[in-house]
Amino acid sequence: MKGKLILEDGASYTGELLNNINATGEVVFNTSMVGYQESLTDPSYCRQILTLTYPIVGNYGVADIFMQSRKCFVGGFVIGELCEKGSNWHYENSLADFLTKQGVPCLYNVDTRAVTRHIRAAGTMKGIIVPDDASQTEMDELMARPIKKEVVMEVTTPKPYDIDVEGETGKKPYHVVALDYGVKYNILKSMHDMGIKLTVVPADTSAEDVLALQPDGIFLSNGPGDPADVPEQIEVVKTLVEEGTRQRGIPMFGICLGHQLLCRALGADTYKLKFGHRGCNQPVKRLADGRVHISSQNHGFAVDEKSLSGLPIEVTHINVNDGTVEGIRHTELPIFSVQYHPEAAPGPNDNMYLFDEFMSLMEKKGE
């Protein structure tokens, strides 16, 4: 069935519609060449219409182990070729089947490069996916739908849960409480693989409840949306900084939305990027030694460097392409955060060292 993607400014792109479901959402593009399932299940894309620039998608099918959260949170999926017959030893199901089961509206056989070029020039904007024969009224109504802002609560875990360290290590493992604003499983797995015991708590957990768990470290996860839209969470982070880190010395580490919430909690501003950074090839420079690492990124907002003056925040990492802030640390407290995704999945694992740094902060605290 024919369908189309229509952007807020009237630009229209035709394709084939996989599931006859309409969608309204912010249209963003990702330039990764692999890892479509990881992106589809990355909660940070919640309600967004995700366009992939790589034109052949579905080549290796889907498999349970690549899930980054409990389900697909994207609002829509716009791609070139939807590869029918995937091939890989991990293959469990076809991408098309998966999208159908997950109820994702997917427009394929689209000139996604054209979409990307448009967004690059005009900036990220709202768009809708509709069947070709949708009436004007229907389209107007869809386009008029506001983009939902309270997405963090939609993706966070409904209940706290623990991820224990299996087996006897002899040593008591460090215990990290992860605030789940839409955490990707590979973040949790990365820490778990280091022998960390995790308690994942819902985004609306109070600072008191977090501290009651007596964590060795606090982790602020990635997640969808504008950090300015979740002031309650920023308040929680503020309290955690003061009562957790300053008073009890508990190290804190934030990724992506977690990084933005932390910076806002410390008094910084965030702003919306023209079309964001989404892909697996973003170069990040570590200012301490000038080393550049390639990173996986997925963010539409960034911390405003100008707003940092006078705050106890030091910029530790910048983006080589556009100079935006990619990482910070607190000048007095064991707190640091990055805008990008050291856990990869999808993307390069050049930045796993950040988890080691979190670990060594916890070790220092223990001494």
């Binding site: 990764s32 620039t53 000139d111 990307t116 090839n281 000038g290 080589v320 390069p348 050049d350």
Partner: protein
């Protein structure tokens, strides 16, 4: 980090002649590097023996030395130029090996030359098998169980331990020379003996074979600050077992999950860091298709063929960035030349699919073994880009110029199903065509084909998508929606026409009326994330938006020459690039269309716009429809471009330069005869025959020996010289199928001196920059002959006649641009053999040695200027006071079962030049540069045909006078004895007692002089002897003319200083004449 402050002058080593495994990619890499260094204000000294390259142009480097790539010559040049640094990682394996030798000999230390880029230690760690193994073990990177052996018994023992099959790889070679997969002991022994011979250090590696696994490559960059990125990964369509140079390759990988992709990417970064490479590097892996298990197969610590491919596939200039890293920059300091906004420190994102398809020389070497294995056999490759794999693979197929326009070979139509099925198991150049044939017929399922071939099902399913559409086309009426489907899958108009029984013109007209035309998309390194400044485009039917902004400027399309193959090498790329430069200098926009990723012409900043497209009528017309250029230049793209001229003209496209009709007058035998009659120029007598009887009668009339060839190429051994009726009968039955539709041409074979001329004409005047005399008499293909500029033996009268005939032909054929003429001179009489109204193989050579910018002038003429207006006078440009010798280079070591004897069929893959004020030294340089191992003493074996015995006697005496021992087969020995020379008689091949082959193997013979003997039995013997010389790396001269020159060189070597070099700039500028 800023650039190294101590550097003022840098020397770059090129890769030498084109051979299998080392082709034009290093001209591309080297040229890019030289430009990058000059950009930094450095003085660049370039050494390369290959005159056909762009990199040896005097404006690419400040000092250009076209000299043999040997440590002796390099040392001489270093002592003369005293460079501060040496860049050797861009000259392929040849350049790398030389750098290692120079370092080991202490030359670099002696002259205080810093090895730039990847340090020597890193090179050794990657290249030395044992060190590499240790390094990988230290890193915990898995490599297949292996051992290094220096003798056969150790190899056998190890193989028995780990079990067959095993792979044999010689140390320090490229293109897998001397390697192979052994399934049993017998095969193992055979391969190990050869491998030990080829290895520079007499070592081979025996390792577990992981044939059938996925083969994946990564191109990695690292700077001196330890920043690492991967430029591109690539997946081989052909699983492990086929050399990557012989594999169909896609970029990026298609069947890898993110996890697998990152796992191997991370391994690549670990490896490049541990090795300490500074610049580009290539890592190859075998990945288990059924688990996360992988092995590191190979690491190349340098820019490679794959780097060139990755550069073109992504737009990321690996060679340029490597050069900048070598002089001290870090990746984040280097600007991404494509976006000009971002830095070189990022990883390209592709939003298209790239396919590389190898081009094999089996059309020339019909009898060669077509089996593909660990030893590379391709001479070149094509690349294609599309938004789908189907589109890209079909574009690649029609770029190959092997007589196919889709994945279908006509000859397989006649195969029965059983034969097709059986052929699936053969790993050769036709495998993908067989797979498609099986899918098309529905006689094997995707699963069955996968089981037999181990090719990933993803690829096979994609091929099936194509054959499914073909089958629908064959069954159903061609509705607009089916037309769209066919174009979307990537089928060419001519393919749709073939299947539906229409003409390509009809299909084109119909689909255009239906609005089915391609869109053009940009290659921008970043999947459109950033705006790009580079005009590098590909077509696709799978898109809605076209990105080319067409302007109204004066513009011209220059057609490239496609893949490197025997007969059409890097020379034509040199010509295309120069034509582009000439146009741009005239203020005309130059648009290039080409499909060869190895070349300079497909570098993104050579032309105003680059279309990476197949060179077929449809693909070129599509670009022309889009761009609306003033016209097209076809004379620089070799036969590839010339072949397109008439169909383009028919479609109403203006062809600049010599007209299509005049091209035809030169190429069509009958029309050309008219031209010759008109201009009173003689040619060897000849006739065209349509039956055996006619051939016998015709040949008798003309008189033996005669040159015979089919008027069209059957695919067989096309051209031969026959000396009598029985040989003629043999040829007619064996090599050609003569019918009234397919006549055979019989020409008098004139045993004389062959002379070649390249000329430039505007149709009125005609400038001849130089005349080249061939060392080998007529009968050896001009591309395989040693050519000498200026002529050494021709009389003034002959030269005058040649000038006169050339002018007459230029006027008669209304040549507007370049022409190449071959003459034969017999007893002072000049006859014409053929005229090519286009640029030739010798144009770069002649341009360089005469300093006449032939392509530039020809381009301006094509665009309407005339010679007078440019200040030229008709006639021969006065010869220079030095001599330049062009010698052919062969790749016989890579091609088993190929006869190395020189013949009218071209066999060489590349060329070198020797230049000097002394003829003999120029010749010496050419011969040494071409890789012939000229012995200074020892035993020379003579075994020649009866017709050559008289001449051979004199030659044997000359060698004996130089204190060589002489050995010969019985008949030959008898003749030599008559001269009063001591000669050892050796038994023929089948006489077991003192077998020639055995003597060659034992090292008792240092050079062989052998001429072709007709007759089944002696032919076989001769073949065995010649192959034995190749396998054991000793010189074998199959033309007495070459032998005479080698003798002269040997005699010269005893009297004169051999190593002397001068930059081209000094030669053409008339500098140092003291030798």
């Amino acid at each position: 980090m800023p650039k190294k402050a101590n550097l003022k002058k840098v020397m770059v080593i090129g890769s030498g002649p084109i051979i299998i495994g080392q082709a034009a990619e290093f001209d591309y890499a080297g040229s890019q590097a030289c430009r990058a260094l000059k950009e930094e204000g450095l003085e660049v000294v370039l050494v390369n023996s290959n005159p056909a390259t762009i990199m040896t142009d005097t404006h690419i480097a400040d000092r250009v030395y076209i000299e043999p790539l040997t440590p002796e010559f390099l040392e001489e040049i270093i002592s003369k130029e005293r460079p501060d640094g040496l860049l050797a990682t861009l000259g392929g394996q040849a350049g790398l090996n030389l750098a290692v030798q120079l370092a080991e000999k202490g030359v670099l230390d002696k002259f205080e030359v810093e090895l730039l880029g990847t340090p020597l230690k890193a090179i050794e760690k990657a290249e030395d098998r044992e060190l590499f193994k240790e390094t990988m073990q230290k890193l915990g990177e898995p490599i297949p169980e292996s051992t290094i052996v220096e003798d056969v018994p150790s190899a056998v023992n190890f193989a028995n331990e780990i079990g067959y099959p095993v792979i044999v790889r010689p140390a320090y070679t490229m293109g897998g020379t001397g390697g192979g997969i052994a399934d049993n002991e017998e095969e193992l022994i055979d391969i190990v003996i050869k491998g030990l011979n080829y290895s520079m250090i007499g070592q081979v590696l025996i390792e577990r074979s992981v044939a059938g696994w996925k083969e994946i490559e990564y191109e990695v960059m690292r700077d001196g600050h330890d920043n690492c990125i991967t430029v591109c990964n690539m997946e081989n369509f052909d699983p492990v077992g086929v050399h990557t140079g012989d594999s169909i390759v896609v970029a990026p990988s298609q069947t890898l999950t993110d996890h697998e992709y990152q796992m191997l990417r991370a391994a690549s970064l670990r490896i490049i860091r541990e090795l300490g490479i500074e610049g580009g590097c290539n890592a190859q892996y075998a990945l288990d298709p059924n688990s996360n298990k992988y092995y590191v197969i190979e690491v190349n610590p340098r820019v490679s063929r794959s780097s060139a491919l990755a550069s073109k596939a992504t737009g990321y200039p690996i060679a340029k960035v490597s050069a900048k890293i070598a002089i001290g920059y870090t990746l984040d300091e280097i600007t991404n030349a494509v976006t000009q906004k971002t830095k070189a420190c990022f990883e390209p994102a592709l939003d298209y699919c790239v396919v590389k398809f190898p081009r094999w020389p089996f059309d020339k070497f019909v009898y060669a073994d077509h089996t593909l294995g660990t030893q590379m056999k391709a001479t070149g490759e094509v690349m294609s880009i599309d938004r789908t794999f189907e589109g890209a693979i079909l574009k690649a197929a029609r770029s190959l110029e092997i007589g196919v326009h889709r994945l279908h070979m006509d000859k397989m139509d006649a195969w029965d199903d059983a034969r097709v099925k059986k052929a699936l198991a053969r790993i050769n150049d036709e495998r993908i065509f067989v797979i498609c044939e099986a899918l098309r017929r529905g006689i094997a399922t995707v699963d069955e084909i996968h089981d037999i071939t181990k090719i990933d099902k993803w690829f096979i399913n994609k091929l099936k998508n194509i054959t499914d559409v073909e089958n629908v086309l064959a069954r159903e009426p061609l509705t607009p929606s089916l037309m769209l489907q066919a174009k979307n899958i990537g089928l060419a108009d001519v393919s749709i026409a073939e299947i539906t029984g229409k003409t390509a013109d009809e299909i084109r007209t119909t689909r255009k009326s239906q609005g089915i035309v391609p869109c053009y998309k940009m290659v921008d390194t970043c999947a459109a994330e950033f705006e790009a400044a580079t005009p590098y485009y590909y077509s696709t039917f799978h898109a809605a938006e076209d990105e080319v902004k067409v302007n109204k400027a004066r513009k011209v399309v220059v057609l490239g020459s496609g893949p490197i193959r025997i007969g059409q090498g890097v020379e034509f790329d040199y010509c295309s690039v120069h034509s582009v430069w000439a146009l741009r200098e005239q203020g005309i926009e130059a648009i290039i269309i080409n499909n060869n990723p190895e070349t300079v012409s497909t570098d993104f900043d050579i032309s105003d716009r680059l279309y990476f497209e197949p060179l077929t009528t449809e693909d070129v017309l599509n670009v022309i429809d889009k761009e609306q250029p003033d016209g097209v230049i076809v004379q620089f793209g070799g036969q590839t471009a010339i072949n397109l001229a008439s169909s383009l003209a028919k479609a109403g496209v203006k062809i600049f330069g010599t007209s299509v009709d005049d091209i035809d007058r030169a190429e069509d035998r009958e029309r050309f005869d008219e031209v010759l009659t008109q201009t009173h120029i003689p040619r060897p007598r000849g006739t065209s025959v349509t039956s055996l009887d006619e051939a016998v009668k015709g040949a008798a009339d003309i008189g033996y020996p005669v040159m015979v060839r089919p008027s069209y190429v059957l695919g067989g051994r096309a051209m031969e010289i026959v000396y009598n009726e029985s040989e003629l009968r043999d040829y007619m039955s064996r090599a050609v199928k003569v019918t009234p539709d397919h006549p055979v041409l019989v020409d008098r074979y004139m045993e004389g001196t062959e002379v070649e001329v390249d000329a430039i004409s505007d149709g009125i005047d005609c400038v001849i920059p130089g005349i080249m005399e061939h060392v080998e008499r007529a009968g050896v293909h001009s591309g395989d002959s040693i050519a000498v500029y200026p002529p050494q033996t021709l009389s003034a009268k002959v030269i005058y006649t040649i000038i006169d005939y050339t002018k007459r032909l230029a006027v008669a054929l209304h040549v507007k641009g370049l022409m190449n003429i071959q003459f034969v001179v017999v007893d002072g009489e000049v006859y014409i053999i053929e005229v090519n109204p286009r640029s030739s193989r010798t144009v770069p050579f002649l341009s360089k040695v005469t300093n006449v910018q032939m392509v530039d002038i020809a381009t301006r003429i094509a665009m309407g200027e005339n010679l007078k207006g440019m200040g030229f006078r008709s006639g021969l440009v006065p010869p220079r006071p030095y001599v330049a010798v062009k010698a052919p280079v062969f790749s016989f070591a890579k091609m088993q079962d190929v006869d190395i004897a020189l013949s009218p069929e071209m066999k060489s893959t590349g060329e070198v030049m020797g230049i000097d004020y002394h003829y003999a030294r120029a010749l010496y340089k050419a011969i040494i540069g071409s890789g012939i191992h000229v012995p200074t003493h020892g035993c020379i074996l003579f075994t020649v045909a009866d017709k050559d015995k008289e001449e051979m006697k004199q030659l044997a005496k000359a060698f004996a006078d130089l204190d060589f021992k002489i050995a010969a087969t019985a008949g030959t020995a008898k003749a030599i004895k008559e001269m009063g020379i001591d000669v050892t008689t050796v038994g023929k091949v089948h006489e077991r007692s003192s077998d020639i082959i055995q003597m060659i193997k034992n090292g008792q013979i240092n050079m062989v002089i052998n001429t072709l003997t007709q007759g089944q039995h002696s032919q076989k013997d001769g073949f065995k002897i010649r192959r034995a010389t190749v396998e054991h790396g000793i010189a074998c001269l199959t033309s007495l003319d070459t032998a005479w020159e080698v003798m002269r060189v040997l005699s010269f070597m005893r009297e004169r200083r051999l190593v002397y070099s001068l930059a081209i700039q000094d030669y053409v500028g008339g500098g140092d004449e003291m030798a």
